[in-house]
Structures are given as structure tokens and as C-alpha cells.
Amino acid sequence: MTKTHNSCGLCRIDIENLTVVSGQDILIENINLDFHCGQLTALIGRNGAGKTTLIRAILGEREYTGNISYKEHNNGEIKRPRIGYVPQHLIFDKNTPVSVIDFMTASKSKRPVWLGHRKKDREKIKNQLEELECGHVIDRRLGELSGGELQRVLLATALDPLPDFLILDEPVSGVDVNGLDLFYKMVSKLRDSYHIAILLVSHDLSLIKKYADKAVLIDKTVVASGDVDEVFKTDSFKQIFGFMDLEV
């Protein structure tokens, strides 16, 4: 039995027979997975295993065959699911004159940010940032933020409006060890207090063991999935990651 937290655990995202091809190459094939609200699922695999492709298919950026559906707890379908996405990294010019509040407002509001910001919008964003312990960065340029601060800003952005499915793409790169642990703690807290399913792409196996409820190992297709401990014990896992000291 996998762990679930405060959520009902009944809302789910079903992925059936998902295949993505690029020209002659099959990037991922026959992926079958389900994610439940209140669960933190870690997606692992070697480089080039298709993790990013899978995420881009879920985001609707890549064409795919197969089916992705979002179900409510009563099995009703969510027609326009909200997906929160924290990208792996943002490649942008550090001099870009975009402040944190510009960026967060642009993500959710239709009112163009070149008009400036209304006081009530500003207060709301300030509160959202303070919840993730980074209220002080609201007027800084995105390029001025540290790796950890940027990740938290991206997380705060992904959480408004509250998504049905939160996808975190390797959010640990460029963040120091303490920032990383803090980030995982925040994500766990979200999982416990909100009604969302979380998919986390990560390389940090010790943190996955500490915080994730489920793990999915892919190599073009799903080679193992289930409880983190079980997946870590499979032969495929050992082949890909070697024998590791898992007692952390």
C-alpha cells in the first residue's frame, strides 16, 4: 500500500500507452502510469531515458499517441486540467529587466505588466512568496536571484492558481545542499496540505527516499514503479544506478 496524506487520494491522472516519436526514433514508448492526489511521485532514470520527453508530452508541448486523462474523486473527467510546472532551469539573459513580481503577474493575469502592478495584486504575491520564505525578492530582477530563490519563485508561480498536477523538473540543479533540503521539505508540505498530485524528476536518490511516496523508473518505457524501497531493490534500478547505500 502506498502512502497517501491529507488528500482523498482518489483524484488521479492516468497515462495510457503514451508513445512519443521523433522522425524514425522512438523516444518513449507505451508508458502506463497513474498519479494520485496527495502523492509525491519521483521520476527517475538515466540521462536520455525520456524523462524530459514524458514531461513535455504531459505539458502538451510534444505530440504523442496514447491517452492522458485527469479524473476527479468521483471519476468525473477534468476537461481543462491546471498544470503547475517548475522547469529544470531558466535559460535567460541575466540582464533581462523582468522583476519577480512582473514574472509572477505575467503568469496568471491578463493585465499587461508594462502597466505596473495594482496594490492588491502586489500584496497577494508578497504573501505567496513569504509562504515560501522569499518575500524579500519581490522587486528583484530574475537574473539577480540565487538558484534556491529562483526555484522558490518558480514554485510559488506554479502554485497559483492551485494546479491539479504539479510537475517539478529536476529542481535541484544549481541549488546548494541546504536549499535543496528546504525545497524538498516545502514540496512535502504542499503535498500534505493541498489536494494535488506531484511529479518530481530528480537525480538525488537519498532525498527521494526521504520524501517521495512512489518512484517510477523509466528507460524509454516504465521498467519499475511502486513504493520507493521496492523500486530501489529491483534489478533494473541496480543496473542503471549501481549498488547504492540506501540506508540514509
Partner: protein
């Protein structure tokens, strides 16, 4: 128009204001500068300096197509070809793995060479060489009105798509996760740039149009820390460089657009120098 001329004479009682062509040129500058400034903010964010350069060069092919089709005014064929080229470059950029610079360079060279070959057949190219540096003093009130319409349309479109465009420029996957149609937004933007460039290239010139688009935004970027400042400073710098460039060119008897670019470049170095203290 007469009332407008009178107002201008009262506001600016200088001797260059005695000439109607200067009044028209000044009005054109006041309309064109903000248009290019607004579009420039995003062109610089998206690192499209080279793209707009290619677009300018392609004007020759637009004119050539017009000549081949026997059009009296080649503006229609220039617009059509400009939009076509910008959409093609954007498409190829998103699907091809070769470096963007190389792709744009290939399109730029091709469309410039093709236009020159067609226009220079039978030795008639000198007729079109005025497009190279442009001449804002020949602008007519009708043309100013056309640009004004484009400016108003641009502001409306900017109002609608800016937030989406900003997210796409920061990260396309992130934009896609927000249900933004990233390709559509990008295409609207490049088409808008194509329209602005093609409609004003006759007075600004193929060689200088890119600077009008890029320089004010590049200068403002040095000293802005948010989007609102960025827009405000870009528009102000665009207007100051445009107007002062025009006036200096009148007294110095030089090319107006090139003089505007010189003033713009000066601003770039000034802002670069003071950015540590301002930001």
C-alpha cells in the same frame, strides 16, 4: 493637418519648422520611434537583433516581387514577403537543430541577393538604392497616418498578448504549462515586427532600420530593473534620439536616420557607463 502644423510651429519656434517636409518628418519620427521602441523591447529580450536585420535586408526581394508583378506601389508585396519570411524563420528555428544564427544568415543572404539580382537586371538598380539609407524627409501625411494606425494596433495587440509573450521569452515549457499557445504568440509578434519594418523602411533605410529597433531597448535594458521602467525608458530614449537626430541632420545636412542611430548609440554607451550606479 494645417492645425497640427500650426501647433507644431507654436511649440517649436525654430527655423527648421518653416519647411513642411521637416514638419512631416518630425511627425513621422514621433510616431515611428515609440512603435519601434515597443517592439524593440521584446526583440532584444528574445535576442532577435539578427532576425530583424535579416528582415530589413529582405525588403529588396519584397520590392522585386512587386516590380515583377507590375505593382505601382510595392508595399503590398513587401509586407507579404516580410511576414512570410519572418514566419518561415520562426518555424525553421523551432524545428531545426542547426544554430539559429546560421539559419537566419542563410535566409538573410538569400532574400537580399535575390532581390538585388532581380532589381539590377538591365542595370536599373540605382533607382532602388535610396532604400539603403532611406529618406524621412519624403514622408507624406498619408503615410504618417498609416504608421499611426499601425502604432495604435500594436499597442492594442501589446495589451492583449504581452504577458504571454513575456513568459514565452523566458521559458516556452513554462508558458505551455500555462495553456499559452506559444507558436501562435511568437508568430503574432514576428509578423508585427515585419509589418512595422516594411512600412517604415522607405524612410528609415535597410541599413539603419535594425538599429532603430534594437538600440533604444538595448540602452534601456542597461538601467531598468522591471518591465514598466524598461518600456518607459525605451520609448523616451527612442523619441529623444529620433527627434534630436532629425534636427541635427537638418543643420548638419546629413542622413536623418543615420544621425538618429548615432545619437542612439551615444545613449547606449552612456547607459552602459552608468548602469552600476542606477540599477
Amino acid at each position: 493637418m494645417d492645425t497640427l502644423y500650426k501647433i507644431m510651429e507654436i511649440v517649436m519656434p525654430f527655423d527648421f519648422m518653416n519647411y513642411e517636409f521637416m514638419k512631416n518628418a518630425l511627425l513621422a519620427t514621433i510616431v515611428v520611434s515609440p512603435l519601434f521602441a515597443i517592439l524593440g523591447t521584446m526583440a532584444v529580450n528574445n535576442k532577435m537583433a539578427f532576425f530583424s536585420d535579416a528582415l530589413g535586408h529582405s525588403a529588396f526581394t519584397g520590392i522585386a516581387i512587386g516590380v515583377l508583378l507590375g505593382l505601382k506601389n510595392p508595399i503590398i508585396s513587401m509586407l507579404a514577403f516580410g511576414i512570410f519570411l519572418s514566419l518561415i524563420i520562426t518555424k525553421v528555428k523551432s524545428t531545426n537543430t542547426a544554430s539559429t544564427d546560421t539559419i537566419i544568415s542563410v535566409f538573410s543572404s538569400l532574400s537580399m541577393a535575390l532581390g538585388i539580382v532581380i532589381l539590377s537586371k538591365n542595370g536599373g538598380f540605382s533607382k532602388y538604392s535610396s532604400y539603403l539609407i532611406g529618406d524621412i524627409l519624403t514622408v507624406t501625411p498619408k503615410e504618417i497616418l498609416l504608421i499611426l494606425v499601425v502604432l495604435i494596433c500594436t499597442i492594442i495587440i501589446w495589451h492583449i498578448i504581452y504577458n504571454s509573450l513575456l513568459l514565452v521569452s523566458i521559458n516556452t515549457s513554462l508558458a505551455a504549462s500555462r495553456n499559452i499557445k506559444t507558436h501562435l504568440i511568437e508568430n503574432i509578434f514576428v509578423a508585427l515586427v515585419a509589418v512595422a519594418v516594411m512600412l517604415s523602411i522607405k524612410w528609415i533605410g535597410i541599413l539603419t532600420i535594425n538599429s532603430m529597433l534594437i538600440l533604444p531597448a538595448a540602452s534601456a535594458r542597461n538601467i531598468s530593473s522591471n518591465t514598466r521602467q524598461y518600456h518607459g525608458i525605451t520609448i523616451i530614449l527612442g523619441l529623444i534620439s529620433g527627434i534630436s537626430g532629425l534636427i541635427i541632420s537638418f543643420y548638419g545636412d546629413t542622413s536623418a536616420s543615420a544621425t538618429m542611430v548615432l545619437v542612439s548609440s551615444l545613449f547606449f554607451f552612456i547607459t552602459l557607463g552608468i548602469r552600476k550606479f542606477v540599477r
